[in-house]
Point group: C2
Amino acid sequence: MAQESIAKRSEDYARWYTDVITKAELADYSPVKGCMVIRPYGFAIWERMKEALDRRIKETGHENAYFPLFIPKSFLAREAAHVEGFAKECAIVTHSRLKVEDGALVVDPESALEEELVIRPTSETIMYAMFAKWIQSYRDLPLLINQWANVVRWEMRTRLFLRTAEFLWQEGHTAHETAEESEAEVRTALSIYREFMEGHMAMPVLTGRKSDAERFAGALHTYSCEALMQNGWALQAGTSHNLGQNFAKAFNVQFQGRDAKIEHVWQTSWGVSTRLVGGLVMTHSDDNGLVLPPKLAPIEAVVVPIYKTDAEKERIHAEARAIEGELAAASIRARSDLRENYKPGWKYFHWEGKGVPVRLEIGPKDIEKGTVLSVRRDTGEKRPLPRAGVAPAVREMLDAIQAALFEKARKFRDEMTADVSDYGEFSKIVEERGGFLRSPWCGRAACEEKVKAETKATVRSLPIDPAPPPEKPCVACGEKAAHSAVFARAY
Amino acid sequence: MAQESIAKRSEDYARWYTDVITKAELADYSPVKGCMVIRPYGFAIWERMKEALDRRIKETGHENAYFPLFIPKSFLAREAAHVEGFAKECAIVTHSRLKVEDGALVVDPESALEEELVIRPTSETIMYAMFAKWIQSYRDLPLLINQWANVVRWEMRTRLFLRTAEFLWQEGHTAHETAEESEAEVRTALSIYREFMEGHMAMPVLTGRKSDAERFAGALHTYSCEALMQNGWALQAGTSHNLGQNFAKAFNVQFQGRDAKIEHVWQTSWGVSTRLVGGLVMTHSDDNGLVLPPKLAPIEAVVVPIYKTDAEKERIHAEARAIEGELAAASIRARSDLRENYKPGWKYFHWEGKGVPVRLEIGPKDIEKGTVLSVRRDTGEKRPLPRAGVAPAVREMLDAIQAALFEKARKFRDEMTADVSDYGEFSKIVEERGGFLRSPWCGRAACEEKVKAETKATVRSLPIDPAPPPEKPCVACGEKAAHSAVFARAY
């Protein structure tokens, strides 16, 4: 089994990204245009993400449910901005039967549907049609629903995990009595995301409000978590939308209030997707392949036996299995690689490419000395651990790696964040190294468009709460600034 | 909030089934024809099922992955029997864009796809196209993949959980070196299902082989778990298919064997779906609503406070919360219902409808006596428990309920299973009470069809391993019998 080589980040970043994923066997291109296959190792990472997020989502009072994949075309049309946002790239089901004609399998024209169905690009419309049925009184509020599902947005430019026609995600959808409660909910979701991204993914994020141009189709406000990738591009990692009463009015989601008056509910929706796996890859990996934070690593430690003779093999394999057992007993996800058709060097390279945080090497000399050699995936640092008490020592290393990865990413992000008010300097930085540029902005769409057209950078984030405007003028037009905005090129 | 009433099983079984689901808020009809919404309480049951099954699937060496929702039409066509089985009821995506024309939202004809895509009715074809890429050598085998996903089979006769156009399921797909290994895998899957259905769902099942007419489209053999519902109808609760080399040949899934020769792999696929929730409902529920086995109950015990005065309220609420805490500390999923706008009687009725296995009532007199009154959902039996040590007592009750539900269902199934060799008696039993009829069958499709046409009963199950044929002649034609077959009317 030959092992894939990886392009250098500095030479071909896009190729490096794909190579890391391919070598780690996270995903593969599928024969269906725009769609990928999530392979077992990549899916195991997603399952760990899902588990951590699901726990927090439930702890904050939300319940999981499942709604239809299909959205009647007319539902999509009910909220004007929403349909505008999704109509141009969606998968449309028009028929329900295939038949054989002249030896070929063709769509049976007689099976045309009365109304075409759109594969959900997001579930606001189909969910809120049900909310309207379930909600009658303020006693039915808040309604706090979450769904784990696949969604489809017709995208033909596939970038594994980052941009695929079909992707997996979580979508929270809530309904509240008051505007204040829905605004608080939007921020709760944002803070769940931030805690998860920083605490589990070790990926520092900037939280903020989106500009009108970047807002979700149908929302009043969109908040987001923005992370910075190693090439200086931003990644929108999660969004949380205050929908106001827009959808409630379109779908007649009403309730009898405490004062007996009939009112429309206030709503939110928020989501993160398998795109996070792409963000994880790009935040930590290096030219040797994937680097994973321990909390999300399917395997936290791998044990590789080293021996020459058959007599040694037996002893060392037993020792490797014993170590694996001790680690497992200490709730460390461990695996000993006892395959005999591969040499230790091949195994090092293999598990390095899979981003396993800690490698333990055990050979006859280690047994003599009563030690195990540990190698950190993130720094390459080698250190002998005492054989007795190897599990607590590995646990300590894993905690240190988790913390170090976050610190390294935070430092990188901070170094790549610049306060810039001069447009020439702005353009130069965007072009030369990217990163986050904090700049005064007048708030007008025209300036946002000009910056985008000229530099490919967009407004990623505005302050969530009202703040005094910057003293310096708009970086693009020189007029009075309204916000201190963070710009970046983005995925 | 008014509570739904439930039809009696003896008067209108189909209505009873729907009423139980509606009252428990497990699911709801959606505005999309053929599709349902799984509500939070129903989804929580499915999540518990999924968790238990997923654990066993992983313990037996399978890994989860995710493949595209879309199947190119030409893929479906590659295996002749397979396309025959699914072409007539599938959702077909033909376009990728909507546009506004004369004020109406219409499908943009210019967005027609080059090749139509079928929403997966099952994933053999899309998965095996990838298997062909991943498998080269015997070292890559066995490949043991599982997927949790939504699938679509165009069905317009909706029966909540039992028959819906879209449903959720798990599909195992494996590839092996030899025919013996794939046959062993098919039986492993079947035993995982049986253990789960009997051990968790408390639903006894008959495992067996399907007749040719009931076999999966494209398989050599199909094995199934058949359960008996309270109306005497069978429910096919899970299937496991030995695919032989049919799909391997259609998709060129080949490997270099130990002898260096190139061969086709031997494959299996197996699945269970949200249909299981329907089976769970129909196995245990009664005229008062849902009855759940503790292992799958989202809430195992509910605490209802009883009081008259405000002073009592405070004390009793504190006590109810304390009990809830003690149960939770003992890993019992417990909830105290402290809502003040509902009376205790309303709450009893409410939680009964939701199938909560144990209800605990606590009032001032109970506190005086140092007891808590327990009520079993399955039998209605009331028994005071000692307040001190309430948690172990409830745990014991839950275990007893889990065992009693299985025993009751097993007894019912056994009583409803008859050995019949006379066709007149056969028809009479099928018509009058249903159940499983074990009868000699010649093995010919003509007899199977005749029985089905005349009695609506079908062959549910044949012995898995070769057994001596019954001495008595075929129940339908009087010729020599080949099998002892189990017949029943089925969902």
